[in-house]
Amino acid sequence: MNDPIVLEGNAAVEEFDVRKYIRLQMMPHFLCPGCGHGIALRALLWAVHELGIDKDRLAVVSGIGCAGRLSAYIDANTFHVTHGRPLAFASGLALVRPDLHVVVITGDGDCLAIGGNHFIHTCRRNLKLTCLMLNNEVYGMTGGQVSPTTSETRITTTTQLGNAEPHFDACALAAAAGAGFVGREVTHHVPKLKDVMRAALEHPGFAFVEVMSDCTEIFGRKNDMGSSPEMILRQKSEIRPSAYRDTVETPFRPNTLPTGVLMCNERPEYGAAYRQYAQTVKSAGDGKQKRG
């Protein structure tokens, strides 16, 4: 029974099996029980499967942190690089190898704190890249310190009385910095998350997707949010599908968050412009040599 199964409403594509896209020898993975990052990883691989991207043409770059470790489980070209710099590495890779689908998996700390500078400038350049930021509101791997996206009043190991700082709205930041595609989804809605990731992978410019993930062991436990099933059910009450305007007008979320594709525009992609420029310089240089 290797024939593709045709189900109602689905095209006759081969059914998605996550095991064909992961390094089986690495399993089970290192994530804590109930960690939302595993769900996000599945959604990414599902989107890759649906788009029919060859594993040899997929490059996954990730930084440091729980999210950073995910690249190691993907059976593709993967790079685990220095803290905060996956976007910088990926930019170089995407410029040199425009034939690759470059995907960056990064965490909230990796992307917005240590790598915040790289993040805004990658958005500004609008190079063809897909950046997935797995936001679990905490530095999970180092023991649960406050991160730039920790919501107000949340308790972490470094904010024992509750976080008093306002947090970043990563989608508003990416949009303001010039990203061509901005999306956000929660891990509870896997098919929707897959669709947002798929749209991001198809986008010709820089695509940023914020995945609202759960840290159950460190963040959920400290904040009395229950165990993993309770945390994942909570997501339903905290989201609101909406337009990008909302993000800009209320950058600091009180209770609910807009999700879905928040912005998508056709700004010129940097890679093409860069290669054209390089070509012009090169041909000008050749002309000079001939004359000399």
């Binding site: 029974m1 189900l7 109602e8 399993m27 939302g36 595993g38 159950t216 165990s227 993993s228």
Partner: protein, 312 residues
């Protein structure tokens, strides 16, 4: 007295039912699902009749039916209309924006002369899908357009939604049907288009007028040739009803007892066993919705759906 004579003239011409004589009002029943534009169609028709100096009475049921429920609107026009509702079996033209709604109201149609114009669009209501098992049969009408058309004096099954979609706006499907409706009456084409342009959103006037003309030419074409009874959607529905069996494969080595699958299973047919590994308690309950597979962060669950025939 020019008005009176005009009224008499219009009512004589208006409606395919005009042959019955001009004394009785013409009865048009417009039905569909909330959100499709039933009320808009009836407003267009009523306004058009009014512009022609006819008396119009219109009554509708909406509100609770908004977005997804059954909506109907009675439009009666003629020289003199006494009651706003159409007596059972006196509908001259039944315009249905959805297939099952059309069938629901079909007994209201005048048996010998009634005209039935129906979109083949299927909007399956939630209560027709109570069985959540994959491939379970839907409790939705199984009649194909060919079967229905054979029983009605004059019937047209129009794939208006697809036609409107091809014009670039699926929501103009009701206007395609207005176009179809216009052929059953003898109001001047220019008046139809003028009234239509008044009622549709200003930005969509272009696409709506295109849709109107498309619906009109489709019916004229169908009148000339034998009605097209092939229905790709109907076949799709029949093909989809393949009951499948579900097998849930759980990789015990990878399960980390996070409990997500157990708590989020809509059928509550999973549990953690004595070793705190997920297991399926009641395979008969499992509908194969795949929620557990999607939400398992450890990739430990895999749901296999196989057509029942292949297993047997």
């Amino acid at each position: 007295m020019s008005l009176a004579s005009e009224v008499a003239e219009s009512s004589q011409h208006s409606g395919g039912a005009a042959a019955r004589g001009s004394r009785e009002p013409v009865n048009v029943l417009i039905v569909g699902v909330g959100g499709q534009g039933v009320i808009m169609v009836s407003k267009v028709l009523a306004s058009l009749c009014q512009a022609h100096g006819l008396q119009v009475k219109q009554s509708e049921v909406h509100g609770m039916a908004k977005r997804g429920g059954s909506v109907f609107s009675h439009v009666r026009f003629g020289k003199q209309v006494w009651s706003p509702t159409i007596p059972k079996g006196d509908v001259d033209i039944l315009l249905a924006l959805e297939w099952a709604e059309g069938l629901r109201w079909l007994p209201q149609l005048r048996a010998e002369t009634g005209i039935f114009i129906c979109d083949t669009k299927r909007i399956v209501p939630p209560f027709a899908c109570l069985n959540r098992r994959q491939g379970a049969p839907m409790r939705y009408s199984r009649e194909t357009p060919a079967e229905v058309i054979a029983h009605v004096a004059e019937a047209y099954a129009v794939d208006a939604t697809r036609m409107a979609d091809e014009l670039g706006n699926e929501r103009a499907a009701n206007t395609v049907l207005v176009g179809a409706l216009s052929t059953a009456m003898e109001f001047p084409l220019a008046d139809w288009e003028r009234v239509l342009a008044e009622f549709v959103p200003r930005k969509t006037v272009g696409v709506n007028l295109e849709a109107f003309r498309l619906g009109r030419s489709w019916i004229e074409e169908a009148r000339r040739t034998a009605p097209d009874t092939s229905d790709p959607q109907g076949q799709g529905l029949a093909a989809a009803v393949v009951p499948s069996t579900v097998r849930v494969e759980i990789e015990a080595q990878w399960c980390k007892s996070c409990d997500i699958c157990v708590k989020l299973c809509p059928e509550r047919c999973l549990r953690l066993n004595s070793e705190r590994i997920a297991e399926l308690t009641d395979p008969a309950k499992c509908t194969g919705c795949r929620l557990c597979e999607w939400l398992c962060p450890d990739f430990a669950i895999r749901v296999h759906l196989q057509p029942a025939a292949a297993v047997a």
